[in-house]
């Protein structure tokens, strides 16, 4: 088969700048052929190479005594004691989900699950952070239905419980939704599998589903802005098969138990190319592949197509040759393909043969390591002008506005489409704050949360970056967990624009400061840039996925309040309304001011206070969007009770000052907490009480049943 001639259009279509293409020629000392150009494009696109972000990602704190493996492998690994480890990561599948919502979201879940079990961990929890356009935008409804069904369709069949997530709506996502999928798995700390190959002449084995033409060029597509040709990109979206993924997971974990695996890598973005290059490069070896041996489900596939296919549910492994029979038997048991498709070689070459013909012959280490790295120009986001926000509203109307907005309404419509209880260890299902999964067969449990407030990040990237981490820290703390570590999923617009790059840099600095102060290092992550449509960027959305450890069931802090419980607020309330959920509701057309400042010392002190006094706390939630008013309503409503707060002041009720928690406890416990707070020098104040069947803020009041009906029906009414 003749290959297309390399033209300027073809070079541009592969995402190369003229300088980058010249660099490819210089590395090779010749022009690449078509297949080679495809391989370089796969390795050098933004999605795989992190060329715009690497410089800044390096500044993030990634180490700590709890870290077994930081960024660079398929997922991060943290120590959870007793010789056990938690393996986790979050990754975006934004562009595919906008083009084909069901399959885009489904394969996003599939990809992140594979990242986790490739390292030898059985997935025990998933989360999904979803950002959509305005509910009334004509595309939003279809995206919400498709993405939620896709996330559920894949995860439910695979059999991993959903532990939490986020769903938000903003006009900035009208043309570019975000689908960020998180997965975490459990492994023995001394049985983690890595990607570095070792040994010359070792067989390279292809595992899992067959290769088709789906997703060819997907990673390059995901590294470009959208325009009105988007429908033409539908064929670059892959199709997922969760049943095959489930078998692949079982077979892979069983295979690892046989001792046959030297190294293993899942085939994600740019499938065969990225996985083979990564294993060779990390092991200081070359790789030779014979493509006619690759299991194929379509006829007459070319070398180019096979090297760039993003068919799902596939893995590449370097095998101990003496254990081939045992390894093959495992895959036959699960009815999956097992094919030797090449070998490791001593020379630094990535040699691709197809029916005896050399289709690519590239210096492997250079292919892996010479991807361009840019120090993109960036502009600091200008500070917001100070606002005079001394207005007062009817607080019940303010609350109704929030709970009648799909952003803050009950998300049962979403979470009930996900299996939250499979595997039999769900201690707390999603809904309010962090989810909790027990570590099977032990007294331990892990808390999971996913957080970011994009409007804060846009107004003030540094404080917004800090706030995303701080809110995650608080959500973990509020259920009694000790925050352990973090994964970051950085969703931004076009990094070639200095203002966008400035958002990225500011957010990274904020995240770095917060994970350092709160001792929750970044152990894995993902960057998604070019989230723009026709030149309009999304809100900067650095999603923070975080995990915390609970060492005994008795240390879990509950979420049920009882009649007569005191409502006690930990932390100072100054009434910061800038960038608040309420302000956006009641004055959408005005300047929204600055994001709240995050005092990291206060965050740490208040988190430690909560954990140290958990026995005096019946229920706890952090204060975030919607401030005290929304938190008090949510906590009370979950227990079917009313709540009375002593104030009707708009700023005190709806201000979004950070480092605060709302506690429900008995009068005796409240006294214990006040005494402990004096000793710890932490500010606590009694804000009211739980009970009755009304929600009362000062002199304003409404029946709980009416508010509950709004809260629980808004989401379904908007999208059903």
């Amino acid at each position: 088969m003749t290959e297309p001639a390399i033209t300027d259009e073809l070079i541009a279509a592969h995402g190369f700048t003229p300088d980058e293409y010249a660099e490819v020629n210089s590395i090779l000392g010749r022009a690449p052929n078509y297949t080679e150009m495809g391989i370089f494009s796969a390795m050098w696109n933004e999605h795989c190479s992190y060329k715009s972000s690497k410089k800044w990602l390096r500044t993030l704190p990634t180490e700590g005594p709890q870290v077994i493996c930081g960024p660079g492998e398929n997922a991060g690994v943290v120590d959870i004691g007793d010789g056990q480890a938690l393996v986790f990561k979050m990754e975006s599948h934004n562009h595919p989900s906008y083009i084909e919502p069901y399959q885009g979201a489904a394969t996003g879940v599939g990809g992140i699950l594979r990242d986790v079990f490739t390292m030898g961990a059985r997935p025990i929890a998933s989360m999904n952070a979803l950002s959509f356009g305005r509910p009334e935008h004509p595309k939003t409804r279809q995206l919400v239905h498709g993405v939620v069904a896709g996330v559920g369709g894949y995860g439910n069949c695979f059999g991993v419980p959903c532990a939490g997530g986020e769903v938000r709506f903003d006009a900035a996502y009208d043309g570019n939704c975000l689908v960020n999928a998180f997965a975490a798995g459990l492994a023995d700390a001394d049985k983690i599998f890595y990607s570095a190959a070792s040994g010359v002449g070792m067989p390279v084995v292809y595992l899992g589903a067959k290769t088709g033409r789906d997703g060819v060029g997907g990673a390059t597509m995901a590294s470009a802005e959208f325009d009105d040709t988007i429908e033409e990109k539908r064929p670059t979206v892959q199709v997922g098969d969760p049943f095959t993924e489930k078998r692949l997971m079982e077979a892979t974990l069983e295979l690892m138990g046989t001792g046959a695996v030297i190294s293993i890598q899942d085939m994600g973005a740019a499938g065969l190319t990225c996985s083979a290059v990564e294993m060779g490069d990390k092991g200081g070896l070359g790789v030779k592949l014979t493509l006619e041996d690759v299991p194929q489900r379509e006829e007459n596939m070319t070398a180019y197509e096979m090297m760039l296919s993003e068919s799902q549910e596939r893995m590449l492994m370097v095998l101990k040759p003496e254990l081939e029979a045992e390894a093959r038997a495992v895959f036959e048991k699960w009815d999956l393909d097992f094919a030797i498709v090449g070998e490791t070689i001593a020379e630094d070459r990535f040699l691709i043969l197809h029916h005896g013909e050399v289709k690519a012959d590239l210096p492997l280490s250079k292919l892996a390591s010479t991807a361009p790295e840019y120090d993109r120009p960036w502009e600091e986001t200008p500070p917001a002008a100070p606002l005079d926000l001394s207005f007062q509203i009817d607080p019940i109307e303010g609350l109704k506005g929030l709970i009648g907005d799909p952003n803050y309404a009950h998300k049962g419509w979403v979470f009930e489409q996900y299996d939250t209880m499979v595997m039999g260890d769900t201690n707390r299902t999603p809904g309010l704050g962090a989810g909790i999964m027990r570590v099977h067969g032990t007294d331990k449990a892990i808390a999971f949360t996913s957080d970011v407030t994009p409007r804060y990040v846009k107004a003030n990237p540094f404080e917004g970056g800090k706030q995303a981490v701080a809110e995650a820290y608080r959500n973990l703390t509020a259920v009694g967990a000790k925050p352990l570590a973090t994964t970051d999923n950085m969703n931004f617009g076009n990094p070639e624009k200095p203002a966008i790059m400035g958002q990225f840099v500011g957010a990274i600095k904020g995240i770095g400061a917060a994970v350092s102060a709160l001792n929750m290092p970044i152990v894995s992550g993902n960057v998604s840039l070019y989230n723009e449509t026709d030149g309009t960027a999304i809100l900067p959305t650095p999603t923070i996925g975080a995990v915390g450890l609970i060492d005994h069931p008795a240390h879990i802090i509950g979420d049920a309040v009882r009649e007569g419980h005191v409502a006690l607020v930990v932390g100072h309330t100054t009434g910061h309304l800038g960038q608040s959920a309420l302000l956006a509701q009641v004055r959408p057309d005005d300047a929204q001011g600055d994001a709240p400042h995050v005092d990291l010392e206060a965050e740490k002190a208040h988190g430690d206070f909560i954990r140290a006094n958990r026995s005096s706390i019946a229920a706890c939630t952090d204060l975030s969007d919607g401030g005290l008013a929304l938190a008090a309503f949510e906590l009370a409503e979950k227990s079917g009770l009313g709540v009375t707060l002593d104030t009707e002041d708009t700023a005190r009720l709806f201000g979004e000052d950070q480092a605060r928690y709302l506690i429900g406890c008995s009068a005796e416990q409240a006294e214990e907490l006040r005494a402990a707070a004096r000793v710890a020098d932490v500010h606590v104040e009694i804000a009211g009480s739980f009970g009755g069947d009304t929600v009362t803020f000062g002199s304003a009041s409404a029946p709980l049943a009416d508010l509950s009906a709004i809260y629980r029906s808004t989401f379904a009414d908007t999208f059903a």
Partner: protein, 222 residues
């Protein structure tokens, strides 16, 4: 009580069911779908939830033709006990061990939540730990749980007191709110809700424990 839990390649509640059986005192063996015989001395076979063979065709349709299902049918014919939960219930209707079929949920969406179940009969070795009329909280998690059968069959189920559980607030459109049914000899139970997800105070509550305890009581013989 000796229990076998069938493992299809897409089963994902197999461990959960084994844990619930063991908590009730059972010895549990996992049985692979390609096996054609059950282990010796099995009192009860559990067919767990999940997606047996992917369920891309009708749920449970391919599983019904698996080697292990032939021995499960033979076990039932001999008067053995079979408990099918969720996908397991779908498999039991596909094999013909129970009548009717499970259609797509009326709302066309997958639903995972805890629902109220009314115990319709205490006259079985599964339900005699409850009183008829009790309402218990048990999680559901399915896309195809809408029980359907022809009117004659439904009438027969009523007449024979073979409806084990009904929903108090029908989540999926099931006929007559049916959530679980018994075979004629009352030894095969199929139900969409997951009692194994409500057999532990730290996970989903304890309202399902009585089912496993009742079984253990009936099947623990000297």
């Amino acid at each position: 009580m000796k229990a076998a839990v069938v493992v299809f390649p897409g089963s994902n509640c197999d461990r959960d069911l084994a844990v619930a059986f063991k908590a009730a005192g059972a010895d549990v063996e996992m049985v692979w779908h390609k096996d054609s015989t059950l282990p010796q001395g099995i009192d009860i076979v559990g067919i767990p939830g999940g997606f047996s063979y992917g369920d891309y065709l009708r749920c449970g349709a391919i599983a019904a033709h698996s080697p292990i299902c032939k021995s499960v049918a033979a076990h039932a014919d001999r008067g053995g006990y079979v408990l099918g939960i969720c996908n397991g219930f779908q498999v039991l209707t596909e094999t013909g061990l129970l009548p009717g079929a499970l259609l797509r949920n009326a709302g066309l969406k997958y639903i995972c939540k805890t629902v109220g179940l009314k115990v319709e009969t205490s006259q079985s070795d599964y339900t005699n730990g409850y009183n008829a009329g009790d309402v218990i909280d048990i999680p559901i998690a399915h896309h195809d749980g809408n029980y359907f059968a022809d009117q004659t069959t439904i009438q027969q189920l009523h007449d024979d007191d073979r409806i084990a559980f009904t929903y108090t607030d029908n989540p999926n459109g099931a006929q007559d709110d049916i959530a679980g049914i018994l075979s004629e000899n009352r030894r095969v139970l199929g139900m969409m809700p997951h009692p194994e997800r409500a057999a532990d105070a730290g996970h989903g509550g304890t309202d399902g424990q009585a089912l496993f305890r009742a079984l253990a009581g009936a099947l623990t013989t000297a």
